[in-house]
Subunit: 302 residues, 2 copies
């Protein structure tokens, strides 16, 4: 039994188009409808045959859906929900893929009074954006965190969880505020730091940008991947999960100051101890299948 | 014509063993001798047949070499040089692969009076360490920065440059102090930040280490690779290139504070502008062949 028969994806970027590919691969009998506010994206989606139908309006897209997934930047959720409100079936479940859950839950409940809403967040992505960036295995072996809203039916949570498992993900349930703190450290802070260091490196006077690029294989290039992620999406994430991000950033800055002091005063043992401890974290991530065990993430060396 | 006929590698970790493999692959007639201060590493090198000979002492290893490459942590250069001084041929060129060049040049000149010294730094590596981590293509298409010492013969610089080109690297010449500032931003600062954030994430109270590991695919895992690099090597790098690292760190901290302020005050445009600018840097790195163009560094998604 499939959890849903008619799925509508609103927003056909990397995540939306990957969901479309993954549905085709794993639940080929699902009737799949898509919509994007950008007509160019709709044209591309038609050309790629991402869905059975690409609707010109959000209303037409959702009218007979039993699952509607909002795959738009967090800051665009309210407008996306408002655009489909009048045509949503009372039987439909509305979900999303936003990276902050407390703010999104609040916005969706406000925009869709009476609707059944089950927010979710697949913890997966690449630095690519747009409808051509998606692929069917993006969620394979990755976690999808479902953050139920109090008072919503449990069966809805179960169906959305089942949907993500069918796409290849493993599912965890979490309270929205805890989700936002976990992701602040595992995703939002890393992106913020990556954006910062790439900016810092571009602004030096005596080291040219061309030198930064040439010698990036010494470590810098690892940061540039996530600093190439979608600017709109990430602006919205930082503004929506502000409190948790600022708290994690404060802790990071304290730790960085302490390391700075250890370098200034030549405390080699402190450095060595930290550098030994951090190796174990990498090992665990590989053991749990959340990263590639091959050196350099498996990058080609030819 | 090969630049050297008898090469000795002192220190058989990732870089030393990769040089051995690369010499075998690209200059098979070179007579290759190795030595490591650690008897276990020597045993492994013998088992792997890394070199034609593995000598028990540094002196025996260098006695008839025309190139000696020191592949030990920066903090161990003085001791490694002292151990081979008495047996070094007056015709030999001594080089190294250390990540800081001003301090290493000073130490080698002091330890080896009268010797011909040409410091160099191949900007390549992986998070793996030890004699089993090496592979022949590590330097392929990467840059090797040669930092000549004033007063040393130019022909020696040319022969060392030629040697690295034969191993597949591209060669640049640079003044040692400029090298140290360029690498502070492209390599040392990224490592320092990666070590810090992995430490910060391990120390949280309300987010468990197991959650950090599970949801690391949201960005965090990209940092853990370089935070798994060799602790001894990196302790020495930060202590030896202290001034440049502290300066870059100061600039990074200022930029981070400015971004923190933009988040606190909801300045979305500032965030968006930076996030757009950083995408271009990634594009340049890929265009110049210093990283993989495939999403996620080409990580497997199966």
């Amino acid at each position: 039994m499939l959890p849903f028969a008619r799925v509508t994806i609103i927003g056909l970027g990397l995540i939306g188009s990957s969901i479309a590919h993954a549905i085709r691969a794993n639940m080929p009998t699902v009737r799949l409808t898509g919509h994007d506010a950008d007509p160019d994206v709709r044209d591309t989606a038609i050309r790629l045959q991402l869905c059975d139908d690409i609707a010109d309006t959000a209303g037409a897209a959702v009218i007979d859906a039993d699952l509607v997934i909002l795959c738009v930047p967090v800051g665009a959720m309210a407008a996306a929900a408002a655009a489909l409100r009048d045509d949503l079936s009372p039987e439909a479940i509305v979900s999303d893929v936003g990276s902050c859950k407390e703010e999104v839950a609040r916005v969706l409940v406000e925009a869709l009074p009476g609707a059944t809403i089950v927010p979710a967040h697949p913890v997966a992505g690449t630095e690519r954006s747009g409808p051509e960036a998606g692929f069917a295995t993006l969620f394979q072996g990755r976690w999808c965190i479902v953050t139920p809203i109090e008072g919503m039916p449990e069966t809805a949570t179960e169906r959305v969880s089942d949907f993500w498992r069918k796409l290849g993900a493993e599912v965890d349930l979490m309270a929205p505020d805890h989700h936002d703190r976990v992701l602040a450290v595992t995703s939002h802070l890393p992106h913020l730091i990556a954006y910062t260091i790439v900016g810092t490196a571009s602004d030096l006077e005596e080291v040219t940008q061309s030198e930064v690029i040439k010698y990036s294989a010494g470590g810098f290039r690892d940061f540039t991947r996530i600093a190439a992620s979608d600017p709109t999406m990430w602006r919205d994430v930082f503004l929506s999960n502000r409190e948790a991000v600022l708290d994690m950033l404060q802790r990071f800055s304290e730790d960085l100051s302490s390391l700075q002091r250890a370098i200034r005063w030549g405390k080699g043992d402190e450095l060595f101890d930290l550098f030994t401890r951090t190796r174990a974290v990498r090992r665990s991530i590989i053991e749990q299948g959340q990263d590639d065990a091959a050196p350099d993430f498996g990058r080609s060396h030819e």
